[in-house]
């Protein structure tokens, strides 16, 4: 039995906005699922329907096999934390944290023990007798987390619970949250627009856009094999390099990608053909291993099987799979140098568009430097030019 299921869940608001468009999702018991997407993608509406704060227009929600679609929030066994912590201002931290246990009729001794345990975990021991207004924003958020985590409901629902905190505290609470969820194995649905948070926390990342689910997969796969252009762009900081091009037949069952696809009607009459970056060549030696090689002005890649139909495509590659290589014929000039501490990104302008390259912090190239780019063929991805769906 699945712990949580959403079946063809749909929400259209009174003003006609179709916030959630018939999504399907099923969670295993103890799974940590993160709904990831930009503002307006439907992630929060989905969570609110799970909590019972919104009624779906159609579709069905189950918790532990029980249909809860039309139950009130209090009738569902859920615990939630929202970005804007709503603590009871007149209660102390201890009373705030104990509140869900009182409502559930947990005896006094047991209540004190559990509040003590969660408070210690979250470093709230010294604050138990203070009131919310005496706390910093970070501490208030910790109390809100403690209040949700003191109880072990069927599912935890969290809407950007770390949204307003500073980086160090976020990282710390992120880790705490994950450790606690792993220890207690409470099924969790967590909403964020921050892809890094999603990658770090999730067993499964569910990427949403326009009220639909684009991909639901473990973090590594969402990152390595994005289902479409939106996911490729949204996941990763910075996102995947995406360069438009055109897939062409190249003799004996081979195909090649020409970057910078010519405009409709001008096909075949391009005065200055842009470099070919990816393709197979009929004259390649037998047994030639996959790899990018140079061939005059062009970079030729022996990898693609011919199963793909010719037409407009987008070529994708993550910044860490491009290396600087003076010998490469894909050349450009560094436009921007973004130092990020543990890594560094160079934005390089080439005849085939701008590429972001992740380099070691010690890399000597600077803005203005001329560099060559070598793409790792094992990590090239191709997307359909019209639909954006991944082809290879």
């Amino acid at each position: 039995m699945k712990a949580v299921t959403l079946e063809r869940l749909e929400k259209t608001f009174a003003d006609g906005t179709r916030a959630v468009r018939g999504i399907d999702l099923a969670l295993e018991a103890g799974e940590f699922v993160v709904l990831l997407g930009p503002s307006g993608c439907g992630k929060t509406t989905t969570l609110r329907m799970l909590a019972g704060l919104e009624l779906p227009t159609s579709g069905r929600i189950t918790l532990d096999g029980k249909d809860v679609t039309h139950l009130r929030p209090s009738e569902r066994d859920v615990g939630f934390v929202f970005q804007f912590y709503a603590l009871y201002p007149h209660l102390t931290v201890r009373e705030n944290v104990a509140f869900p246990l009182r409502c559930a009729g947990v005896p006094r001794g047991e209540r004190a023990r559990r509040v003590g345990a969660v408070a210690e975990h979250l470093g709230l021991g010294a604050l138990l007798d203070l009131r919310p207004r005496q706390l910093s924003g970070g501490d208030q958020q910790r109390v809100a987390l403690a209040r949700a985590m003191v109880r072990r409901p069927a599912v935890w629902l969290m809407d950007e619970p770390l949204g307003t905190l500073d980086a160090a505290l976020r990282a710390e609470l992120c880790e705490f949250l994950r450790a606690e969820q792993l220890a207690q194995r409470v099924t969790t649905v967590y909403v964020t627009h921050d892809q890094e948070e999603a990658m770090r926390l999730a067993d499964r990342v569910v990427v949403m856009s326009g009220g639909a689910i684009l991909q639901a997969d473990r973090p590594g796969r969402v990152y390595d094999e994005p289902a479409d252009l939106f996911v490729a762009r949204f996941v990763g900081s910075p996102g995947m390099n995406l360069v438009p091009g055109e897939l062409r037949a190249a003799g004996a069952g081979g195909v090649e990608v020409v970057l910078g696809a010519p405009a409709e009607g001008a096909r075949g009459a391009h005065p200055n053909p842009p470099p070919t970056l990816w393709g197979t060549r009929e004259n390649r030696p037998a047994g030639d291993p996959p790899g990018v090689r140079e061939s005059g002005e062009n970079l030729v890649l022996h990898r693609l099987s011919a199963a793909l139909p010719p037409g407009p495509v987008t070529l994708g590659i993550r910044p860490e799979f491009i290396a600087l290589d003076a010998a490469s014929s894909l050349r450009g000039r560094v436009a921007v140098d973004e130092y990020l501490g543990a890594s560094r990104c160079l934005h390089v302008d080439t005849p085939a568009g701008r590429w972001v390259v992740r380099v070691a912090p010690e890399e000597p190239a600077r803005p203005g430097s001329e560099v060559g780019l070598r793409l790792d063929p094992a990590h090239l991805r191709l997307f359909h030019g019209a639909t954006g769906a991944r082809l290879a």
């Binding site: 500073d166 980086a167 590594g220 900081s237 973004e338 501490g341």
Partner: protein, 347 residues
């Protein structure tokens, strides 16, 4: 730095019993970007308002272009402020919002000049298609572009920006961060940029000023502040995951963990007897050390994986390539890159 364009010297600002700024020093050269990094309540906004002339300091001076401007009214300073909350006039069009700063009393620019400046700024920010739209009908990213445009249109001699990207989605923030820094660098106008976002600080700044409780803890180029933080507090403000901090004592030429005696890394002969060692997660390898550690958590962060391991009485963070196969429960032998270890005085 030769004669700085902006110099904040010993600025103190109190609100009643609370001291918001406790002697802040900040220097900014012509065409440079200074980022002030700090958590909520550190005094960032008060500092910016003091530079703008919206707050009068209780002590200290603010010099602009080599002149003491401490007592100049805001208008005389010719600086432009951009706030976190956009603060546009919702019922005005984008064009009217952009033109507004040029129509303020005392600025009698000819109509043609106003139109030309609005057009140029709209082109720079790629918001021409929005010019006739009401501000309230814009998306968050569009509103912030217009708010930045309203600062640009005045052609001030200094930009002051107070967390202008904070209210936007992470992804949009990333894109606008790049746009903004490219734009400001191309204009050559110096900028003081306030944020709590360390990626913005590291990627945009010529100099980062780490502010805490109204004091600058450290000021320097991003690499210096990131690699050689002067204190655990600075280390904590910068870097994700935060820098590892291990209490250690010196046993001859080796640092060993105070908690359990685990050897950590070589110590300089003149090092103190006790210290706190700081090391970034990316400067600890999973092999090469002499003592074992148990992996507790492995997280995929995209380009790297973040490993948390129980080691030397603490939870050690390691940032390692994704090509390594690692799983909770596994034994590793962490090895700290001795050249990258920062030695702080023992707490």
């Amino acid at each position: 730095m030769s004669a700085p364009f902006l110099a904040v010297r010993g600025v103190v600002k109190r609100f009643g019993a609370r001291t918001a700024l406790a002697g802040v020093e900040l220097e900014l050269g012509a065409g440079e970007i200074a980022v002030v990094l700090g958590a909520t309540g550190a005094g960032k906004t008060t500092l910016l308002r003091t530079i703008a002339g919206l707050e009068r300091p209780d002590a200290g001076t603010v010099e602009l272009a080599g002149r003491d401007a401490t007592h100049d009214p805001p208008r005389a300073r010719d600086v432009a402020l951009v706030f976190q909350d956009f603060s546009l006039y919702p019922r005005w069009t984008v064009r009217e919002n952009l033109a507004f700063p040029l129509r303020a009393p005392g600025r009698s620019l000819p109509q043609a000049e106003v139109e030309e400046r609005v057009r140029a700024v709209a082109a720079t920010l790629r918001i021409e298609p929005l010019l006739e739209r009401d501000a309230r009908r814009l998306s968050g990213g569009e509103m912030q572009r217009v708010a930045i445009g309203r600062a640009l249109v005045r052609r001030p001699r200094l930009f002051l920006m107070d967390e202008p990207l904070t209210n936007l989605d992470a992804k949009l923030r990333e894109a606008l961060r790049l746009e903004l820094v490219t734009l400001v660098r191309s204009l050559g106008t110096p900028m003081v940029y306030v944020t709590h976002d360390q990626a913005e600080a590291l990627s945009m700044a010529d100099r980062i000023h780490v502010l805490e409780a109204g004091r600058v803890l450290q000021a320097g180029p991003p690499r210096e502040v990131y690699l050689r933080p002067s204190s655990p507090a600075v280390a904590r403000a910068l870097g994700s995951p935060p820098m590892n901090a291990l209490p250690a004592r010196r046993a001859d030429a080796t640092w060993v963990s105070t908690a359990d005696g685990t050897p950590l890394c070589p110590a300089a002969p003149d090092a103190p007897a006790q210290a706190l060692l700081g090391v970034r997660a990316e400067h600890v390898a999973v092999t090469g050390g002499t003592h074992p550690a148990t992996v507790e958590v492995v997280e995929d962060t995209g380009p790297h994986q973040l490993v948390v391991a129980r080691f030397a009485g603490t939870r050690l963070h390691l940032l390692v390539p994704r090509t390594l196969e690692l799983a909770p429960g596994q034994t590793i032998h962490p090895c700290m890159d001795a050249r990258r270890v920062v030695v702080w005085s023992a707490p």
